[in-house]
């Protein structure tokens, strides 16, 4: 079943066409990757899906509903969550509180129940804390719950962002370079975490530069270059796709190592 589908999606900044006419789809339960050289438009694509930007043309369907032009919080509530390329945690809140904020859209208590301190209010506050702890356990941060987010080491901050996104109960989780800045061992651990999230029934789309990770866990790979989608298919298909090899080798002379072969 198709979970999310875009057709003819385009976005222009000033004179620059960041994305041109993107047709894309992802099925329920899939792990897919979005790759491409720097500046290909990958994060722009995420920003369009999550409502940060409004598309200039085209449409986005999620669970059979148009979501383009909707505000980000609305889209999150429909079941589309994300993490950020540059980690964006609420630094001066505790680890647990960060995840609890993610529960906001799944809970209801309003100002007046809070002021009146009804029993329902306390029950709900308790439910929020418990399910937030559940997410922390899932990513392995349960012991750090009372730490301030800014005091966590880098790798743990990435995991916390994922826990916060999971707290919103997404159907589709967008991960923007989840293994960026990690060493080999950490990135293997991240790959396992992504696979465990997938086993929970959550569909995953990730932007990733680390090809070993992409090829290992994705069922489908989509390739962007200069705002165009140039290829899509299984990892095997993509690794041998002439256009993909050209995009990586031809246009970014200084980084020929970012090729398609599996590297740490």
């Amino acid at each position: 079943m198709i979970l999310l589908k875009t057709s003819g999606l385009s976005k222009t900044f000033g004179g620059l066409k960041a994305l041109s006419d993107i047709d894309f789809s992802i099925s329920s339960g899939e792990i897919a990757s979005l790759i491409g050289p720097n500046g290909a438009g990958k994060t722009t694509f995420f920003n369009l899906l999550t409502g940060v930007y409004k598309p200039d043309a085209g449409e986005i369907d999620f669970c059979g509903e148009r979501i383009d032009g909707r505000p980000p919080y609305w889209i999150t509530k429909r079941g589309l969550a994300r993490t950020f390329q540059n980690i964006r945690l609420f630094n001066n809140m505790t680890v647990l509180e960060n995840v609890m904020v993610g529960r906001h859209c799944r809970t209801r208590s309003e100002l007046f129940t809070a002021l009146l301190r009804t029993p329902g209010f306390f029950r709900e506050e308790k439910e929020i804390a418990e399910s937030a702890m559940e997410r922390l356990r899932f990513v392995g941060l349960l012991d750090d719950g009372n730490e301030l987010a800014k005091n966590l080491p880098y790798g743990a901050q990435r995991k916390l962002e994922i826990a916060r996104a999971l707290a919103t109960e997404p159907k589709l989780l967008l991960l923007d370079e989840p293994s960026a800045g990690m060493n080999h061992a950490e990135s293997l651990e991240m790959a396992q975490l992504i696979q465990r999230i997938s086993k929970e029934g959550i569909t995953i789309l990730l932007i990733e530069h680390r090809m070993s990770l992409v090829m290992k866990i994705s069922q489908n790979v989509h390739v962007l270059d200069h705002g165009f989608k140039i290829a899509e298919g299984t990892p095997d298909h993509i690794q041998n796709h002439p256009k993909v090899i050209e995009a990586y080798l031809g246009s970014t002379q200084e980084t020929p190592e970012i090729t398609i072969d599996a590297r740490g």
Partner: protein, 297 residues
């Protein structure tokens, strides 16, 4: 020493009012990075709404009429503030930062002059409290001082509990740290902004009533000076920082009371208060409790 302790209490009384108003500035700044210059008019409107309620309910025993005055004053202010945000600030969310600032000054003028057109003179604020004096050891407190200190304490404590422990309070803090990320994890940011104005105005309205209970009269421009001082208190504590606004308000109130009592001329009290501000800002440019501010937009 007698008069020192009494001045200290006078200062804390006045300071707790400044603190309540300062919280309104600091909460809004925390989320929108904008100084809501119309907040001093919210303070004034609270006093007028409270006055109206007290006059209308003058037949009731004072605890009831005062309670009703607070309820009405705070609610009226909260609704005006939410409407003001929707009309004058929300459309400018993506405008340069100077634009909402100017809009706030405009709102301030509109609100002040609307009241001016209705009544441009001093109005007596009903004296509801019996002039009871209470002696605690060597210190004499009036009933009104106890009411002011007590209700400010309750309101500030309630605010602290609210933003620390409730889901909406957490959402407010999340918005103040990263508004865009907050919206992307499902926080309806516009609703949280309305809530922030609502709460800030409730505190400001309550402060307006307390202030006029203390001084006994109200006027259309009564918000200007206390508003200015509360803004100063918020900056003193580190704008955007909630405990900072409370501490800044108390510090400003106490220094003003001390200045009035111990400087050769009482008129020097404001000079002392602002000299402290300048000193603090030279030594700690982000205020007493301020953290490293990051440009968020």
């Amino acid at each position: 020493m007698h008069s020192f302790t009494e001045q200290l209490l006078n200062g804390l009384t006045l300071g707790s009012i400044y603190a309540l108003v300062a919280l309104g500035y600091t909460l809004v700044y925390g989320i929108l990075l904008m100084i809501n210059f119309a907040h001093s008019e919210i303070f004034m409107l609270g006093a007028f709404a409270g006055c109206g309620t007290l006059v209308a309910l003058s037949a009731l025993p004072w605890p009831l009429s005062v309670g009703a005055a607070f309820l009405m004053g705070m609610l009226a202010c909260a609704l005006v503030a939410v409407a003001m945000e929707k009309v004058a600030y929300a459309p400018l969310r993506r405008a340069p930062r100077l634009a909402p600032l100017i809009s706030a000054i405009g709102v301030s003028i509109v609100l002040q002059n609307s009241v001016f057109l209705w009544r441009n003179d001093f109005l007596a604020f009903p004296t509801v409290f019996p002039p009871t004096q209470i002696n605690i050891g060597p210190v004499t407190l009036s009933l009104i001082q106890i009411v002011i200190l007590g209700s400010s304490l309750v309101l500030m404590g309630g605010l602290w509990l609210f933003i620390t422990f409730t889901r909406l309070g957490q959402a407010m803090r999340a918005c103040s740290q990263d508004r865009e990320a907050a919206e992307l994890v499902g926080i309806p940011v516009n609703r949280i902004i309305s809530l922030t104005f609502f709460i800030g105005a409730m505190l400001g309205g309550a402060a307006g009533i307390l202030y006029s209970l203390y001084y006994g009269s109200i006027k259309y421009n009564m918000g200007f000076l206390p508003g200015m001082k509360a803004f100063t208190a918020a900056v003193l504590g580190g704008i955007g920082n909630v405990p900072g606004a409370m501490a800044g308000g108390l510090l400003l109130g106490v220094s003003e009371a001390m200045g009035a009592a111990f400087l050769p001329e009482a008129e020097w009290k404001d000079v002392l208060a602002f000299a402290i501000l300048i000193l603090v800002l030279i030594l700690r440019p982000r205020g007493l409790f301020g953290e490293r501010t990051s440009e968020k937009i």
